[in-house]
Amino acid sequence: MEAFTTHTGIGVPLRQSNVDTDQIIPAVYLKRITRTGFEDALFAAWRKDESFILNQAPFNAGSVLVAGPDFGTGSSREHAVWALKDYGFKAVLSSRFADIFRGNSGKQGLLAAQVAQDDIELIWKVLENHPGTEIKVDLVSKTVECGNVVAPFEIDDYTRWRLLEGLDDIGLTLQHEEDITAYEATRPSFKPKTLPAKVDAL
């Protein structure tokens, strides 16, 4: 994973709450078996509407999405994060993220920065009054800067550290493989195993 320290790019105001992952990427695009190339799928249904924010310059070149509360609800599809990243987004600001979406973002190096709704409203105004305004997202100081608005954001320390260092999760866990093996030795015999299959249907 690429390390993340700061990013500066055009802010995109998405004045909507409850942006679920079915909106971020409709299910029809989940049939692909690749991990990249999802930029066309991002907000696919909404992008058919010419007035949608990403169909307007300069927002179509945006890289910091500023959304309403409860962003990323619903399906666990990590494709939502891949689509945002493939389109060019580096960070999403919202006052509240769905748990699974936030986790997926952290694994993929997309910064999910939790900003107070009052500050989101101020940033929306700046972006709407001055389209093309850039937002600086600083993971070191945990602040976002947009025009004359400077706001703190929240992110858990562990995710922040992993993003700053660009660390691979599986590699980190496998450093503790002895602990896993020791745990496995203590599991009770009544816990089920999938193999051998105790059905004759195969």
Partner: protein, 483 residues
Amino acid sequence: MGKTLAEKVWDAHVVRKGEGEGANAQPDLLFIDLHLVHEVTSPQAFEGLRLAGRPLRRVDLTIATEDHNTPTLDIDKPIADLTSRTQIETLRANCKEFGVRLHSLGDKEQGIVHVVGPQLGLTQPGMTVVCGDSHTSTHGAFGALAMGIGTSEVEHVMATQTLSLKPFKTMAINVEGTLRPGVTAKDIILAVIAKIGTGGGQGYVLEYRGSAIRALSMDARMTICNMSIEAGARAGMVAPDQTTYDYMQGRPHAPEGADWDAAVEYWNTLNTDADATFDVEVDLDADALEPFVTWGTNPGQGVSLSAKVPSPEDFGDENAKAAAERALQYMGLEAGTPMKDIRVDTVFLGSCTNSRIEDLRAAADIIRGREKDPNIRMLVVPGSARVRLEAEAEGLDKVFKDFGAEWRFAGCSMCLGMNPDQLEPGERCASTSNRNFEGRQGKGGRTHLVSPVVAAATAVRGTLSSPSDLESAATGTLTGIAV
């Protein structure tokens, strides 16, 4: 101080405690007892293992099934949609390469992953269960800590059989009282979501408690836990009890002999201690509950079926007001319209929320001897091939077919329309599934989430209806409705 059920299961799976305390603590490393896999969220994870040259650590704790993409007609023919077919074939190739047990289309154990796990007896109390699917919360009905994960986490579990997780907060959902006839588990969970909102459960594990929950069957408990994610909670749980054990006993992978006794002894410890405290408690009165139905485009936008479509002005919060306005426009509804006046085009009985045998029985009890509204298209999609066989053995397929419904093969089907089962733009559906998001069941489709008995009554009358709206002259009887 005592522990909650969720804390007990968590503590029993800590491989390595994260360093530090409180907000700055590192995540704990938790062991995963069961990893369920399906075709949509796994190909990139298998590919990741392959690229890194890593094996799948515990194939004996992993099981795969085909569900999201599978057609529900002509299952003996090659899948017509080439991208769907490729995804299914990729799963088959990956399972073969890594040695994962797979129940393919046509196999008697194939079906929706959250129906298959419990039915095989692989989901048991006190386990940690994960799957690359947010409705993994379903398995919490057994007192398991079960949650949906993203594809990076799927790969992590494949490689390490663990997950790095920060402890959740705990929320009790206390449901006391007795449900009235025609009111079901689905109505409980829709009312809970309307009450706490789609973000109300974020960061929490929910524990459903109280006399109304204890009275529920396992199928009904699964319906409730299934939709925990719709309240923002990654997991929801019910403490195991005799109902749980009766369901488990004799299933293919349930413990046997001395193992059964040891398991029950352990399972009996899996309840929240009397002196444990929850971070939040929410109460719901089961006696007062009516059939519940959604009017909008997120599962929190629901009302009693006897109510009217709300007005954006009813909402104090600006964001909720704007969301309501947008939802009414998308749904093609006018504020103030009685919900029961809303005419629907399609009724979908299925999905991991409501496709188990009791759901099918409850709907069949309503329609038996009645006639379908001629303008309604009704799809009945059993949750698994096993449920389909069981229903056919009871003659339920005949009840549905005589009524004029389509009797399909198992899969996720119209819940998310990854297969050909989709709504047309503007088509309105009463659906027993879990998400009424814009376009979820097909581009431009309009979804009302309902219980199986409301779905059945709606198919009879053509408008959103509860069983009590049906004339009593018909042979259908309200006794025996699964709640």
